[in-house]
Amino acid sequence: MFDDEEVLHPLEAARDNGVVQLPTAFVQQARFQTAVSRAAQRLAPHGVVQIIPTLGEDWSGEPAVFFMVILTDAASRRDRLLNISNEVSQTIYQQVQPLEKWGVLPYFNFRSQSEQAKLDQPAMV
């Protein structure tokens, strides 16, 4: 899809307990961030202000990426929220392919611009 996004093999490191595989997203974080930023740019006309990915583990311990999607206040209205959230998740699934290409299960959270400003959370990448 993107020239600089060829499929990369997960890093394999031999340890005492055998071979440990790290998901590609953890090993190639800058490239992963670039892929996410490109998807975010394409979503800007729909009301997406920013997409902040945070790598970690989900509740069951699986490697995951948590996307905090900041929307304009207009796009966050109840009557638009479901449509825009579906648009964002489908675009990320198709363009970034978090699970298939990067080995992390994607999760999406959404906030409005005014909510984010109020919380004043530092961006964690």
């Binding site: 989900d58 109840r78 929220l81 998740s89 299960l105 909510e115 919380l119």
Partner: protein
Amino acid sequence: MAFHDDLLELAQHLANLHPGSPHQASLRRAVSTAYYALFHLLISEATANWARPELRAILGRCFDHGQMKTASATKVSEINAAFKNNSQEKAKDSVAVHLRGVADAFIQAQQRRNYADYDRTREVTPVEVDLQIASVSERRQNEARSPTERTERRKRAS
């Protein structure tokens, strides 16, 4: 009214409990309750064809949050892979598109519920609650819409 519908109504009530100055407790309970509405909706759908109605509730006890998440993630991945280079198939296969939507909604709702119940490091906002409830409501409406599609989905989800 079905149990999952009661839960969804309760989630909406909790979300609107303090308009203008929402409390974290009610927002978090709303997210969690909406997830359980979806959890019980899916179990209800899955056990509805069990021949002995009096045993459906017992059968429902076999469903496990972790196994349902793993099955959902596998299904999303399978369908995405099938559609990857075949957009024509995607356009005509509404059952697969719907199934992917159900599976993804479940995965997302479950993780949000985990945040809401256990993670105090960040605030839950009204927009997050609105989305959780809207997502579950959409699944509920779709399940009620087409009995024929439901039968087909059950076959392909198994």
